[in-house]
Amino acid sequence: MPKLRQLVAADTGGTFTDVAVYDPATGSLGFGKTLTTYADLVDGVLTGLGETGAAPDGIALLRHGTTHVINAFLQRRGAKTALVTTEGFRDVLEIARGNRPVPFDLSFRRDPPLVPRPLRFEVAERIAADGQVIAPLDSAALEALVPALRGVEAIAISFLNAYANPAHEDQAAAFLRAALPGAYITTGSALSREWFEYERTSTAAANAFVGPKVAAYAAGFSARLGERGFTGTLAMMGSNGGAMPFPAAVQRPISLVESGPIGGVIAAADYARALGIPRMVAFDMGGTTAKCALVEDGGFEVQSTYWVGGYERGFPIRTPVLDIVEVGAGGGSIAWVDPQGRLRVGPRSAGSEPGPVAFGRGGTEPTVTDANLVLGRIGGANFLGGKLALDRDGAAAAIMRNLATPLGYDNAEVVARGVLDLASTLMAGAIKEITVARGHDVRDFVLCAFGGGGPLFAGDLARSLGIPRVLIPPQPGNFSALGMLLAGARLDISRSVVADLSASGIATLAEAVAAVRAEALSAAAAEFGGAPATLRAQAEMRYRGQRHTVLVELGDTVEAAAIRSAFEAIYAKRYGRSLGDDFQPEIVALRIIAEAPTARPALAALAPTATAAPQPVAHRPLHTRQGWVEAPVWRREHLPAGFAFAGPAIIEEYGATMLLGSGDAARVGALGEISVEIAQ
């Protein structure tokens, strides 16, 4: 048996599966990209792995990111799920909070709940807000539910005030697990120990809804890899940027809600730090959606509540998630004509099956990729290194048939341009939402574009938004997988601790810090495979009486004056000024973060290796705003560090194509990044 040594990341997207392999012994990185195979998602990973030449029996650690969970939510394709809740409260999921986030929309309504009313069951039990049992769990009533629950795959248990005392939830879960061995069962208090019945019940229902699929998926994934001799460790990428062992992911699949996009943002943050870029928009355009996140001072924000389907009409889950904005515009997004005779793009995607018309895999509806092909923006012969020959005539015919003719055009090119403009507008809207709508001037940011489609659209987007500089990192088509390799080992342990800054409060806090540190160290020893962990302590603080908290870094010693001044400084920075001595700061929760530097590739491993003066490998017609031009086609791997060139130009590499508009000035950096000054 060969020595386990390779670290592998596999990112399964809606259209492509990307694999990155790092060998710490040699420092080398390899990449693979294949079409996602829906019937068997593991197939895509194994094929991608095969492309890199890595054998499963040599892999020490495999990290996996997937859009499985978010897709299951958005397409409402989850388990048949039941809810068991406190008598009187079966409608919490459907009543929600009664608010109207779109105040002037008379037609406003929320999306239907994940669990329909006939599958929401009540049992008598009652716990008070202080955790005392007012009425015991009616076990006879619970038992009586069993026949009705036999028909479901998953059960969420969420009782009122269980955040204060989970005993009844635990008791009900134990009973139902014994009575219904095949069902996936989750409790609200196991996922969140915070108050608010709607949010916690929604979290539990969501977890149950995706639980069985994720469990089956993880089991299948492990088994298939095991068959190929894999004996290493499996982890999934959590939405907070940390990797989770498979068993933890199966228990808390909601933690995977943004598992796919997180890798790219981790990698973008690494490049931002390495290149000294203080403000960056990380922009990822894949086959199904486009996503953007802010990278400021080399880090990204994590929010504690995530709204699946958006705040306005969606539902909340309580789990830490990277702050990200997403729109349904990707390479596979289908272009169509609506009943009012208007051209539309997305949100439906052709995905990888059947895929764009150009893929020749049975797709008949024109997509963004088809429009790109018709306009010469991607090459018919060199897509995916020539593995997938693209059918330009088929793409053009579909655009004529489905779009141009109904719209009254006799020219596919004009309509193809319209499709791209529309997709750009949608994506620009997402970038505005995460910048200008939050008070940032988008023009102060560098646009770091990756994903298969990012480098194609970055120039157009930057121009329309007034962004002066675009950065295309190395390996944009495999960037998310690369980021998963770059992620450190990390685990967070939180605990509720209520303490003020008096001597006794500080003593309570110090005691809790010591206990949770010990707990974190032992968890890290188990999960990090022996790597020494460094610990950081953070306190969630507020003025007594407030509900929201700010996160304060605690130093090595727990000391009142230092904590107070750190709290006041953060409070003043966030809210304008700190309050006077009439208001008492307090700690409500403690978080210990354990991190270990895992073996990870150096960015320099992707530095250019070419030294010779490059020549274009070809010229081909490219449709630009000025009409058709004959543009040079460069191979990215031919470009040496320091090489400068101007648009119009096409730069092709495995998994992505980059475009330079007329007047854009590009330069290859020492780390292999291409930096573009955009002609405005």
């Binding site: 009543i95 109207r100 002037f104 037609s107 005030n161 608010f196 709508a437």
Partner: protein, 578 residues
């Protein structure tokens, strides 16, 4: 026009984002659940004349009457623009100006650059209590003049050139039952206001005064032109509708007329409210700005440009006609603690008239009330006062295409979430026994009205319940042959078993009492016999309707095994069709 549309669009977004961020900050730094969770506040930027430039997304519809600008205009008249300095912060809640219950206190500060006044940043927060007859001030149900409802701050500087006026803080502190919460919320209000001002100044520094002023003017012009295009689409004419209110809270059961007329001439939209009943003896009045103007603007915004952020330009073509002395143009001495109470019904009635003008947009009525139900008392262990204000969520009306939406706040409320049962139980000495959908409450129709809610409270310590419900008599009406939604009520069951039904009033509760708060459903659209039997069966399976209701309202006949008897159902429906 010296600038490109992209720059303009970016400035517009920059300005719009400021109140939205400040709104979040206020929510996060506030001390009362009323602000933290119920989000009873508004944040915005107004121009030097008090015209609204932008307002936070979560700001309640009721505040689009420009409570912010109204307060600012009063300040300009009081001090003169030249005497409003950088670092001044003024508070106002006076009845004669704002015309809303005194709890709505506006705080504003001038935005000045190099001496030039560019506007005001303003934050309205519902103060939890500022004296008066009842805990919570606005909770009073029996006031007959404004002085019984709390203290008025008639345009007073709280900060002068950045210096805190400690005398005013002392007066505020002495005039509330909850000094800690009110002063805590006030700190959030002040900090939000000043930070908002600084953020506007930052935009100004980067863009320059001229560019910013141009962007603000463009925003108003664009809003006006969008509103104008909708007004032009309304067939010229006069459209009317009427409904009624339950009573004035003093003479229970004596209904009060709500007659509205809309006049459209292709250029302007005139809302004539001269048919509203006279100023009431009890506290359901509002002054002109907080009443007639607010109701008309809410309705106009719903109709004209609902998807756009609120701007003064939305209302440049809106004319509101009403004489002094109606219940929405009450005189300054009138009691107005329930100033929002009647607004949902008046807005519903205006929308009904507009539905005559634009039938495609017609919509059956919604539950139509704030449905204020507040609890006050003393905490068992500390003896500290507590006060929880809650309002109803109920069913919304159906349209030709869609069933009515499920429980939501009234049309004068926006992003105002319920206070969770778990938060109430943790903070206050009572319990919620149930919070359920109310079956059969949706008005029957081809499109069914939305359902109301039933909430059950168990009283474990002495406390006082104050109620202000409307629409107990005038049901949420159906349209085009659709049935009415069920009306709201509150039921108090005493420990000894006696039951009292009520909509308005104040009730002392003792341990062992139970309170049931039942909200109304929305009206249906189209005849109920036209509702597909499959949809009725689905409603039955969900428990949205009971079997009796399915038979009576929809003519559904089931076989003994629970399946649909198609022939009998068809026959029953023929009879219903008559």
């Amino acid at each position: 026009m010296t600038q490109d549309p992209i720059t303009l669009e970016i400035i517009r977004h920059e300005l719009l984002s400021i109140p939205n961020q400040i709104e979040k900050n206020i929510e996060r730094t506030a001390f009362s659940p009323l602000v933290q969770e119920y989000k009873d506040y508004a944040v915005g930027l107004v121009d030097p004349e008090g015209a609204l430039v932008c307002q936070s997304r979560g700001s309640l519809p009721i505040f689009v009457a420009n409570a912010l600008g109204t307060a600012v205009r009063s300040g300009l008249a009081t001090y003169g623009a030249e005497n409003l300095h950088h670092g001044d912060a003024v508070i106002s809640n006076e009845a004669a100006t704002l015309g809303q219950h005194l709890n709505n206190v506006v705080l504003y500060t001038p935005v000045r650059a190099e001496g030039v006044l560019l506007g005001f940043f303003a934050v309205l927060v519902h103060w939890m209590d500022l004296g008066g007859m009842a805990v919570g001030s606005s909770a009073v149900t029996t006031s007959t003049d404004i002085w019984q409802e709390g203290i008025q701050y008639p345009t007073v500087k709280l900060l002068s050139r950045g210096e805190r006026q400690h005398e005013i803080f002392r007066i505020i502190s002495a005039n509330t039952r909850f000094p800690r919460l009110v002063l805590g919320d006030l700190e959030a209000q002040i900090a939000g206001c000043l930070l908002g001002r600084d953020m506007v100044l930052e935009v100004l520094r980067r863009r320059g005064t001229t560019t910013l002023a141009e962007a603000i003017a463009t925003m108003r012009r664009q809003a006006d032109s969008q509103a104008a295009s909708v007004i032009r689409s309304i067939p010229p004419g006069r459209y009317t509708a009427e409904s009624y209110l339950d009573d004035d809270g003093i003479r229970l059961g004596q209904t009060i007329p709500v007659k509205v007329a809309i006049h459209a001439d292709g250029e302007r939209l005139t809302i004539d409210l001269s048919g509203l009943g006279a100023q009431m003896a009890g506290p359901s009045n509002a002054g002109r700005n907080g009443g007639a103007v607010a109701a008309s603007r809410i309705a106009a915004k719903y109709l004209l440009t609902p998807e756009e952020p609120v701007n003064q330009g939305d209302f440049d073509r809106l004319v509101v006609e009403a004489p002094d002395g109606t219940f929405l143009t009450a005189r300054p001495e009138a009691p107005i603690a329930g100033s929002g109470n009647t607004i949902p019904t008046v807005v519903d009635t205006i929308l009904r008239a507009l539905g005559e003008a634009l039938p495609a947009r017609a919509r059956a009525a919604h539950h139509g009330t704030y449905g204020v139900h507040s609890m006050a008392g003393r905490l068992p262990h500390t003896g500290e006062l507590f006060y929880n204000l809650d309002t109803a969520t109920g069913g919304w009306g159906a349209t030709a295409e869609e069933d009515g939406a499920f429980p939501l706040r009234s049309n004068a409320h926006g992003d105002v979430p319920d206070i969770p049962a778990e938060m109430q139980e943790a903070l206050y000495p009572y319990r919620l026994r149930a919070k359920r959908l109310r079956p059969d409450s949706g008005g029957p129709g081809r499109q069914r009205g939305g359902l109301g809610v039933v909430k059950d409270y168990e009283i474990t310590h002495p406390c006082r319940l104050n109620l202000k419900f409307e629409r107990g008599q005038c049901p949420p009406w159906g349209l085009a042959g659709g049935g009415d939604g069920a009306t709201c009520f509150v039921e108090i069951t005493r420990k000894d078993g006696t039951v009292t039904k009520a909509l308005k009033g104040s009730f002392d509760l003792t341990p062992g009492d139970a309170v049931r708060v039942v909200s109304g459903g929305g009206g249906g659209y189209g005849p109920a016999w036209q509702r597909p039997a499959g949809a009725v069966l689905a409603d039955l399976a969900h428990g949205y309707i009971t079997p009796d209701h399915a038979a009576l309202a929809y003519g559904l006949v089931l076989n003994p095994d629970g399946t649909l008897n198609e022939a009998a159902t068809e026959g029953r429906r023929q009879e219903m069709q008559g």
